[in-house]
C-alpha cells in the first residue's frame, strides 16, 4: 500500500504547506498576487481554508495583505533584509553563550554542515548551499536549548530562503563558505566566548552581495 493512513491534516494546513513550498521554490515570487478563489479552484477546496492559510502567512510576514484588495507576496527591500540578518546575528550570538557543555556534539554537527557546504560549492548547487548554510546557523541556535529562541530564528528563515531563491546568482559560494570554518575552529579551541566574538559581524560581511538588487 502506498498510503498507510488517510490524510489527517486540515485543509488549511495543507494549503499553507503548499503555498510555503511555492514561496520557497520561487514559484510564487515577491510581488505576485495570491487570489483566494483562484487558489481554491486550483486545489479543489472552497475559499475558506485558502483564506485562512493566507492570513496565516500574513501573520508570519510572508505576504502583504491589503483589505478588500488582496494578498501579495511580500517584497523585501535591501533594508529589510539587512534588518533580518541583524536579528539573526543577535539571536545567534546570544545563543552561543548559552550552549551547554560539552560542546562536542555541536562541533561535530557544525563540521557536518561544513562538509555539506563544501560539497555544494563543488557542484555549484546554490540551493543546496543555502540549505547547508541555514542548517549551520540553525544548529547553533538549536543547541542552546531555548525553543522560543529557535522559533524566532525559524520565523526569519523563510524570509531568507525566499530571498536566496531570488538572488541566487550573485553569491560567490567559496567566499561565503570561508566565513564559517573559523567559527568552528574558535569553538573547538577556545570555547564559546571566542566563537561568539567571531560570529559577531558575520552577517555584515554578507551585506555587499545584495547591492545589485537593491
Amino acid at each position: 500500500m502506498a498510503q498507510t493512513t488517510v490524510v489527517r491534516q486540515s485543509l488549511k494546513d495543507q494549503v499553507k504547506s503548499i503555498l510555503i513550498d511555492r514561496l520557497i521554490s520561487g514559484d510564487l515570487a515577491p510581488g505576485d498576487r495570491i487570489k483566494e478563489l483562484q487558489v481554491a479552484r486550483e486545489l479543489g477546496t472552497s475559499q475558506a481554508p485558502v483564506r485562512e492559510a493566507i492570513r496565516c502567512l500574513e501573520t508570519l510576514g510572508y505576504v502583504e495583505h491589503i483589505p478588500h484588495v488582496g494578498a501579495m507576496v511580500r517584497v523585501f527591500n535591501k533594508g529589510e533584509i539587512e534588518e533580518a540578518y541583524e536579528v539573526r546575528e543577535a539571536l545567534e550570538v546570544h545563543s552561543i553563550s548559552l550552549v551547554r557543555e560539552p560542546l562536542d556534539a555541536l562541533v561535530s554537527e557544525l563540521d557536518k554542515h561544513l562538509d555539506e557546504m563544501r560539497a555544494a560549492t563543488r557542484k555549484r548547487n546554490i540551493r543546496m548551499f543555502t540549505q547547508a548554510d541555514n542548517a549551520f546557523h540553525r544548529s547553533i541556535v538549536a543547541y542552546c536549548g531555548n525553543a522560543t529562541m529557535l522559533a524566532m530564528w525559524d520565523s526569519l528563515k523563510v524570509q531568507m530562503q525566499v530571498i536566496a531563491t531570488l538572488i541566487k546568482a550573485s553569491m560567490p559560494l567559496d567566499e561565503v563558505y570561508s566565513l564559517h570554518p573559523p567559527i568552528v575552529e574558535a569553538f573547538r579551541k577556545h570555547g564559546r566566548e571566542r566563537a561568539s566574538v567571531l560570529l559577531r559581524g558575520h552577517y555584515t560581511m554578507l551585506g555587499g552581495y545584495w547591492e545589485s538588487t537593491a
Copy 2:
C-alpha cells in the same frame, strides 16, 4: 459629534483587538477556552471573523489550538517564561550596540520611563509599573532603528503582559526598579558598550520571582 468617522476596520481586526484586550486585562486567563460561536454571538458577528481572529492569535502564540477541539489561552510554564526573557535579552543587548549617536534622545527617554517607574512604585500600581518597565526596554530596541528587531520584541511583549497580569503580587517593585538606573548611568557616562554589559544578565535576576508559580 461623538463619532467622526464610521468604523472602518474589518470585523476580524476588531475581534482580534477585543480578544487581546481581554488577554492583557486578565479577563481571559491562561487555560480558558475560547469558543468561536460563543464569542460570535457575544459580539454580534458570525463565526468566520472570530475564527480568523483566533487563528491569528494562534500564529502569534497567544492561544493554543487543537484541531476539532478548540482554542484555549496558552499556559506558559516557568521554562517558557525564562526562554522569552532570554530572547528579550538577546535582542536588547544587540540593539544597544546598534543605537546611533547621539545617545541624548534615548537617554532622556529612558529617564522619563524611570520617573514613571518610580511613580508607579510609590502608588504600588503594578499595572502601571509593568507598562513603564516594558516601555523602558522597548525604547532601547526602538532606538536601534531596526523595525524587524522591534517587531520581534513586540511579539514577546504580549506574552510578558499576560504573565505579569497573572502573577502581579510576587514582584517587589523597588527591587525591580533598582536594576534599571545603572543601565542609564552607564549609557550616559560610558556609552553603548558598557550599557550592553550591564543589560546582559538583567533578566536572569528576575527569574527568582516566578519560582512560586512554577
